[in-house]
């Protein structure tokens, strides 16, 4: 969580100091929004707190750079499979988009 919050604060600061970087900041915000939407998919599909903790852990690891996007994506799929979180094909597409994996 701290990683994301820090990034958001950094973006805010940058937005105030360098308004000319607006486009780049917007792109980063969009990326973050997509990623969070992807996390929220699990919540919507009825994942419990335990499973959500795992999902958030994977996301944090991805944000810290411990694992890459592809690993994170497949880890999330694994969690969904193991815990039978009923993800739809559209959800998986959104997950792919969020982690920048070619659809």
């Amino acid at each position: 969580m701290e990683v994301v919050i820090e990034k958001l604060k950094r973006l805010k600061k940058r937005l105030k100091e360098k308004p000319e970087d607006r486009e780049e900041i917007e792109r980063e915000i969009e990326e973050l929004e997509k990623e969070l939407e992807a996390i929220k998919i699990f919540e919507k599909r009825g994942a419990t707190e335990d499973v959500m903790a795992v999902v958030k852990g994977i996301y944090e690891a991805y944000k810290l750079g411990t694992i890459d996007a592809v690993t994170a994506f497949y880890a999330l799929l694994g969690v969904a499979y193991y815990h039978i979180v009923p993800l739809t094909p559209r959800d998986i597409k959104r997950l792919k988009e969020a982690f920048g994996i070619a659809v």
């Binding site: 969580m1 994301v4 919050i5 958001l8 973006l11 805010k12 937005l15 607006r22 900041i25 917007e26 915000i29 973050l32 929004e33 969070l36 996390i39 929220k40 919540e43 599909r45 009825g46 994942a47 419990t48 707190e49 335990d50 499973v51 959500m52 958030k56 193991y82 815990h83 039978i84 979180v85 009923p86």
Partner: protein
């Protein structure tokens, strides 16, 4: 069950495109007068219509066609759309965005008769009960509505209000003004069309009165808060911005929107009532399942043998939850068992055990944050700082939970 989405899509296409239900640029008098949030959501937002409500609309229209010959032989005109040209005033501003339309089912302009045909899924007593609830609420909110005797006219206030508006006429030049009209109700109880045990119907109605009506009342109070004491809904002026506000509100409170979707998803027409917590074996709410099973048994909706068989499966699931290794090995088996269990429940139950939505958390947004694009009201794009703040809140919420 592949025919289910096909039917829903067909209904949606039939009713949303060809009729007023899917149009944003017209507002029907009954919606405007009634101020029932569900109606706004159902009619202003075509997307929120459940398959069941669409099916009921379709049924109503079919019934109108069915009796059309009878009325036409008496010189009635079928579905004459009366279009109003009104100036809406909201906080001193004049708005002309939306046309007001009125669609009495049959009109006989010579005799000045209006026929409003109503079909219902409630019994007369139930209609009276619900209508009284609504009338009491509206009275408490100082909302002027035509007074009528519920026991004499067992219809919802929206229907009465609409008929009163038809009677008053719409002030468009050249259009007929229905000065003195008589009202004919044809009331049809559709209950016998469904092959459903009475106990289930009673249970659903009980749930409706206990859960759905309070939500409606709460929302009406919320609307009242928004617009203040000056809010009036006489038959000639109303607040257009309710529509906008609710549209916006829907966009930002998915939880409640889904609740409305579930609430309007009557089990009779809809094959898939929402049972969100029952989809995953590892963390399915087994206690809730057990509770539901017991209720089903108590209400006599499942036989004792079915109850025992389901309860045994439940115990197996409980054991599965304890033993992850066993779970992994028998995953397919457990999955099938759970699917059977859910299907059995879906056949028998509607979401009477759902928790009420956390309505206090809903933030009502500013209606002026909307803009019209291609004839539709869409959300104005937020500035980057607001988006960042929203993201931060979202992150905090997610990690806090």
């Amino acid at each position: 069950m592949s025919w289910v989405p096909k039917i829903c899509n067909k209904l949606r296409k039939d009713l949303s495109e060809k009729t007023r239900y899917g149009r944003y640029d017209v507002l029907h008098v009954s919606d405007a007068l009634d101020c029932q949030v569900k109606m706004y959501l159902d009619r202003v937002l075509a997307s929120s219509q459940s398959c069941a409500s669409l099916a009921r609309m379709k049924q109503g229209r079919m019934w109108e066609h069915y009796v059309r010959d009878i009325f036409e032989s008496e010189n009635y005109v079928f579905e004459k759309v009366l279009r109003g040209d009104m100036v809406y005033e909201y906080r001193g501003e004049k708005l002309r965005d939306i046309d007001l339309i009125a669609t009495p089912d049959f009109t006989n302009l010579d005799k000045k008769y209006v026929v409003e045909l109503k079909t219902t899924r409630w019994s007369l007593e139930e209609v009276q009960l619900i209508a009284r609830h609504i009338l009491d609420t509206l009275k408490a909110l100082d909302t002027p509505l035509p007074e009528y005797d519920v026991s004499k006219y067992p219809v919802f206030p929206s229907a009465i209000a609409a008929v009163c508006a038809y009677r008053g006429g719409l002030p468009k030049k050249g259009r007929p003004v229905l000065g003195e009209t008589k009202l004919i109700y044809i009331y049809r109880d559709t209950l016998q069309e469904y092959d459903i045990p009475r106990s289930l119907v009673d249970l659903y109605n009980g749930w409706f009165l206990e859960r759905r009506v309070p939500i409606g009342i709460w929302t009406l109070y919320r609307v009242k808060e928004m617009f203040g004491p000056e809010r009036r809904i006489p038959h000639m002026s109303f607040d257009l911005n309710v529509v906008k506000k609710l549209y916006r509100y829907e966009l930002h409170s998915e939880g409640l929107y889904n609740y409305f979707k579930c609430a309007t998803c009557a089990y009779r027409g809809d094959p898939c009532p929402s049972l969100p917590s029952l989809t995953v074996p590892d963390f399915a709410d087994l206690d809730l399942m057990e509770k539901m099973l017991a209720k089903l048994r108590d209400y006599g909706m499942i036989s004792l043998s079915t109850y025992e068989s389901l309860a045994t499966r439940l115990n197996v699931l409980r054991r599965t939850r304890m033993d992850a290794e066993w779970n992994r090995r028998k995953m397919g088996e457990v999955k099938n068992m759970l699917i059977r269990f859910i299907l059995a429940l879906r056949r028998a139950v509607k979401p009477f055990d759902e928790e009420l939505p956390v309505v206090k958390k809903v933030v009502w947004s500013d209606p002026f944050m909307l803009e019209k694009k291609d004839g539709k009201w869409v959300e104005k794009p937020l500035d980057l700082l607001s988006r960042l703040e929203r993201l931060e809140e979202e992150v905090k919420r997610l990690w806090k939970s």
